[in-house]
Structures are given as structure tokens and as C-alpha cells.
Symmetry: C2
Subunit: 209 residues, 2 copies
Amino acid sequence: MRLFDFNRAPNPRRVRMFIAEKRLDIPLVPVNLYRHEQLSPEFLAINPAGTLPVLETDEGEYISESLAICSYLEARHPDPPLLGTGASACARVLMWNAICEQDGLAAIAEVLRNVSPGFRDHALPGPLPVAQLPPLVARGQQRAAWFFERIATRLQHHQYLAGDSFSFADLTLLACVDFAAWVQIQPQQAHPPIARWYAEVASRPSARL
Amino acid sequence: MRLFDFNRAPNPRRVRMFIAEKRLDIPLVPVNLYRHEQLSPEFLAINPAGTLPVLETDEGEYISESLAICSYLEARHPDPPLLGTGASACARVLMWNAICEQDGLAAIAEVLRNVSPGFRDHALPGPLPVAQLPPLVARGQQRAAWFFERIATRLQHHQYLAGDSFSFADLTLLACVDFAAWVQIQPQQAHPPIARWYAEVASRPSARL
């Protein structure tokens, strides 16, 4: 098994943290997004979407999409469970993970990809050109602000996002919060419940990755 | 258990189809999106995001996000399996489901929500105003075209999206294809592999829902 990875991007990071929480040792294959290596013919043959991370299994299968990779690893290495134990807990992890992906990571990416010169003509991931749209910067900032308000409300009454147990949803949220800092959004400052949660989760050894 | 539902929207539809494939009998609670009932204080107390579907469990818990709901139902009613059996198959279902959600449903929603007068100031789901951005119409059309090209390539060599077995990923794709027709995108016409797949999947009794 090996993981196609880039150490500066939020999605590969949450999968690397998941691997560290499981105490697995999976070799990393760096794909430098800054040099557009994900758009090389070699990598597009592995993942036509040109996104990271991708897991290559021992059977030579390529799995993209962070949740799919983590589900594969959870099935093979159940302890510690990070995708929930039992129907309710598992549903809560998937629910909050989806919210963090759609309303958190996507909103922050909307800001970054439409404002940063490095993403000119790459406002969406993938090999094909997509022009930046300046109005999406303010829209993404507003979406991110609503997202973090909702998260703060949730964390006011729950230790972790999916309830009492640390899970993959917390890894996705940690990747969100640190990604948000790239575009000068720091929800820990406005929201004490997020600050409380962040202090705990960011101090885990996996968060150093 | 009951499902908060609207019979014209693609996400509630794929969960209704999932329930039908499982031969479950779960009462539906209609929430009329055309009348903005999802933005009522009563519904926002159930799901602050103002999205459908939402499952209310027998324990009174509310689960939003289609995949989370289907994972809950799969854990309680494993047969027939629709989220994959075994680590690899399960990962493939989640991978293709994520691709259909992010690159398919989201792209088509981008077109519809930015072009239709019914979505004025509601270009994104949820209670807060989001203005329409006309350039997102063409962008969404382009994204949808790329998405269906990738799907056609996949279906050229596989009976179903995740491989040999019909799965939740096919339900998400069916919801995508029928949703695309709302904005005059009909991938069955340009892509024979999609036409072959569609003829089979759309003839299942669950597809009538």
C-alpha cells in the first residue's frame, strides 16, 4: 500500500492524520501540487480528477476520495474506530464529515482558489481550465462564517463533533480550521467552543502531520 | 422512524430509492421546498442547514446528509447490501458516490440555482440569502459535461458504477442524470455507456419514486 500525498493540502492531511491515529505505516508518494504534478499524464492515469490523496492498495487498485480511503483502512484496521461504532454513531460521523466537506472545506477552497494568483485558471481542481470568479471570494467567506457558527453551536454541547468520541469528522474539521487560516479566517477567535475543541484536538500527535 | 422528504428533489429521491431497494416501510413527512417550508423555524430546529432529506430515528435523533441516512439504514437492514460488502467494494461505493455528489449533483445544482428565477437569492441551499451569479451557469454546464465524460469512461468497462454490483452510487448517479434533464443536459444521448446503464437502472421499480 502507498498513499499519493502532498504535505500542504488539507485532504491529504486528514488522511495522513487518520493513518497516524491508526498507528499504520503506509509509505507516502509526494505529488507536488505547486508544480502541478497532479496534472501529469502519469498521475491522471491514476486519478483522472487530478486530486489528492489516492491510496494504492496491495492489489494495485487506486482509491480516491478521502472518506473512501479512510473507510478502506477502517475495515482493515478497526482499532481505534474513527468512523463510529454502531449505526447511530457511524451515521453521526458521516453526517458531520459531509457537513465539514460541503460547507467548510468547499467554502474555504472557494475563497482561496478565486483569490490566489497561484490558482489562476485553476479555480476548481482538475486538469481542465476554470477561470477565477472574484464574487466567489466574498461568497466563500460568508459560507465559511455560517459554517463555523453552526460548528460552534454543535461544540457548545458536545466534546467532539460526532458526540463523545473523537472521529474522522474531527480530523476533517481540524483540516478545515487550519486551511481557513490560509485565507485569514480564524474561527477560534470568535467562537470559544471552537477554541476549546481546537486546543484539545490540535494537541494530538497526529495533528503535527 | 420517518423521513422528511420532498418528492421533486434529487437528494430525498436517492434516499427514497434506497429505502425501496431495502423493502423498508418508512413514513414520509413532506416538506415543500417550492413553498420554502424547509426554511420555517420548525424545520430549521430539525436541520439548521434547511436541507432534505432528514431521518428521524425511533430514538428521536435527526440525521441529515443522504449518505449518513443510508449508512444508518444499511447497518440496521444489511440486505440487500447497497454500500458494498468488504473493504474494497465499500471503498469503491463511497468513492463513486463522492464523485457523483461533488462533480455531478453539485455541478447541476450550480446551473439550476443560478439560472432559475425560483432560486433568486437562494443560489445555495439554506436559510441565508445568496445571490445568483450568472457566470456559474456556464461553469456548471462545463463541470457537468466533464463529469458525464468520466462516468461514461467508467461505465464502458463496468456494469455498475462501483463494479459488478448495483449500489448506492448508482442511485446517486440516477438522481444526477434525471436532475440534469431539468437543465436540458441529457448525457444518455452523447454517451452510449450511460444510455446502456440508464436503461437498466431506470427500469428498476425503485426508480419510479
